[in-house]
Symmetry: C2
Subunit: 435 residues, 2 copies
């Protein structure tokens, strides 16, 4: 049985208990939310995972980071380093989005080495195999794809993105759209290309039951991919996006009826003032299924800094209901990320998640309070300890020290905390107030 | 006459015309908003400025970056490089917050070399002079401070921060506060320290008319400093902050009655869900005077990344009404920023300002649209041109190129835009829809 089926039967699993320890909550709350579909606990029965995480309403906002090879950049060791740095800086999951090399072997190494949840997009595998065999990326059969889903499930993948929301009606709308960037989802474009080339309906929509069957067997959580997510601010919240979302909402029901855990993927590129609307409409149409967003980035003009554009959108999205943030690295739109990019993208996203968690649950602010107490006591070691990135904080501090080691070189002897400490003692206050 | 007085008389000045060219608006709109106090045009009569900028309601969100020396780090050439990189990446103003060395000479060089507005905090100058003469930072007389204001005005400073909002009632509240970080504003702490040491009321509050007289003569815009701004999420929107804000609101009236341009400074450290409230209450209590915020940063736990915590808060703040964002660098809370820190902090803040301007005025999104059009056409040169930081975008792209130069190495042959372009042609669509 899947976590979902057990939750419905009222059973609290060992995975739920482990996830509850991390959340510092009653395991029964986790069971209840998994049972009503507002949370998922992605864990493949075959994956010996160490960190159990629940994704959904009322729990910490989770953070995923994408790693993986691409043509010309196939180095398993580099990808494993990306995995390890992701774990070190608090990623809750990684997605192996490799599209080049021996994907099965890369995946095996990543799953074997990962202490956190692993996600994949099986259609990339089908497309990459075709391309690496000198065919077009859309030259694969439905069976090839189903085999990939099965392989990934058997290998221990915890959640998979399935792009089943693009259908003939989507293509009809795509024909008339005034979008600037028609499709920016790799999976979405492969499916659309496949449909157009073969003059056939979306095979993953038509054969969704087969996908469900495999996912149920291994308890793979389905992440419904948004193949039509806006890839430019101009295209945000348009009819194409909402049309697909309606279909994703139907598929949520299908997953639940089948006993499979499900979450839904979302944008993308969205102006700041449309983010809340996007969160509300997704939760409404998708029956409160956990929402997993990529970004959203809030301006298109900052390539090289898209970890920042995405941290802005992600913080707001999560504070308004998104449950799972996919990190965007500074390299987005420009090149395959390096190990350093992965770290920078991840930390920016952790900042977004934590800032939003403070809104979701004020108790989370205790970390901030501890940091501020350490600051007001000039306790630098404690400040480093509470920092999201202790190494960088320490490095910055040490690079330019103040003469008086109590302070930092930003203000030196004009340190506001030091001056306040020096003069705000009871005697002084009394004297001032009497005058 | 000041810009404000001329605006009230119905006169459109040459400065307003120049500012209108940048805003692409009718100069009459600028005149009207300066006249009703919702905008300011900081320009000292003695400063031969090249970039004229209006700060306030309905105009582009402006960005300031702080530069300046501190004890042990006194290098004028480095500060001038910071100025030049700030101008290059689109800062609207710089504040010289130097606290070490020959401050008059540093200021002279900066004003002389600056094409953009220059702001200062005269009380730093008084405090630094005392300290550099082996006295305490609060060992100065009211006359010393007034002389500094006069000197700065004569030298051409366009706007000055004056901490006149802390009074005896503040100290009374400070005595009972449960704040973690009592005072984090340097100016605020110096004033409070001075008051406590001398058992006297805030001299800048008591002698505010003298400040007004000097500022009027040179048309220096007063930036009412928030000495009690929260310096920890825990302390945000508390009675101390709002008490001071009430006083700043009174001082706004005083400035306007005297014919002096005025804006108000704001937080600080603020949880995401209190930012909108902060914008509304400031605009209400300060009679819609332009709001100049430092950050706000939305979590305390990310030293080394406070340009990101601040970009999140700044974007939301500006989208809800803040007019002027003070950049925060990655070095905040750790050390005096380097040239590279200045650049990173500035670009993060430019991202915040632009993301918010899209909300304030949809026309601004044309930049984003042009970038997205260039992306969908694989026109890399145009993408670099529209990037906030063309150099970094180009560098990233070139570091790991794709085999097919049309694409980038992120997706390689699985480029969604390329696949969509390949298959979404009329014939294919017709064929699919007929099937």
């Amino acid at each position: 049985m899947t976590q979902y089926e057990q939750a419905i039967k009222g059973e609290i699993t060992s995975e739920m208990i482990k996830a509850a320890i991390y959340e510092k909550c009653d395991p029964e709350l986790i069971r209840k939310r998994i049972a009503n579909g507002t949370a998922v606990l992605p864990k493949n029965k075959k994956h010996d995972i160490k960190m159990h995480r629940v994704v959904g309403k009322g729990f910490f906002t989770k953070v995923n980071i994408n790693i993986g090879t691409s043509q010309g950049y196939m180095n398993i060791e580099e990808e494993l380093k990306k995995l390890k740095i992701s774990e070190k800086y608090g990623a809750d999951s990684i997605m192996d989005l490799s599209t080049w090399g021996n994907l099965k072997e890369i995946r095996r190494r990543i799953i074997q080495n990962s202490n956190i949840m692993v996600g994949t997009v099986p259609v990339y595998d089908a497309a990459s195999k075709a391309f690496q065999n000198n065919k077009k990326v859309i030259d694969f059969e439905v069976n090839d794809f189903m085999q990939m889903v099965k392989d990934h499930a058997e290998e221990g993948v915890d959640f998979m993105t399935i792009h089943a929301g693009i259908t003939k009606t989507t293509i009809e709308k795509l024909k008339r759209t005034n979008r600037i960037a028609k499709i920016v989802s790799r999976g979405g474009s492969i499916i659309a290309g496949w449909m157009l080339k073969n003059s056939k309906e979306n095979p993953f929509y038509e054969h969704f039951d087969e996908v469900l069957k495999i996912c149920k067997e291994y308890d793979v959580t389905i992440s419904l991919g948004d193949g039509l997510r806006p890839g430019s601010l101009h295209d945000a919240t348009d009819d194409l996006q909402i049309d697909e979302l309606l279909r994703l909402g139907e598929l949520v029901d299908k997953c639940r009826n089948y006993g499979v855990q499900v979450m839904v993927e979302g944008p993308g590129h969205v102006p700041l003032d449309e983010i809340e609307t996007n969160m509300i409409i997704q939760k409404k149409l998708c029956k409160n299924a956990p929402f997993y967003v990529l970004g959203p980035i809030v301006t298109d003009i900052a390539p090289g800094y898209d970890h920042i554009t995405s941290a802005i959108g992600g913080a707001l999205a999560a504070s308004k209901g998104a449950d799972f943030l996919c990190a965007v690295t500074p390299a987005e739109h420009l090149r395959l990320p390096t190990i350093e990019d992965i770290k920078e993208g991840l930390i920016a996203t952790k900042i977004a998640a934590h800032s939003a968690d403070i809104v979701k649950n004020k108790k989370v602010m205790e970390f901030d309070n501890q940091m501020s107490i350490a600051r007001s006591k000039f306790d630098w070691e404690r400040q480093f300890e509470y920092a999201l990135d202790p190494d960088k904080a320490k490095e910055f501090y040490n690079e330019r020290k103040a003469e008086d080691k109590k302070m930092c070189s930003m203000c030196g002897p004009l340190c506001a905390m030091k001056i306040t400490e020096d003069y705000l003692n009871e005697g002084n206050v009394e004297k001032l107030l009497i005058e």
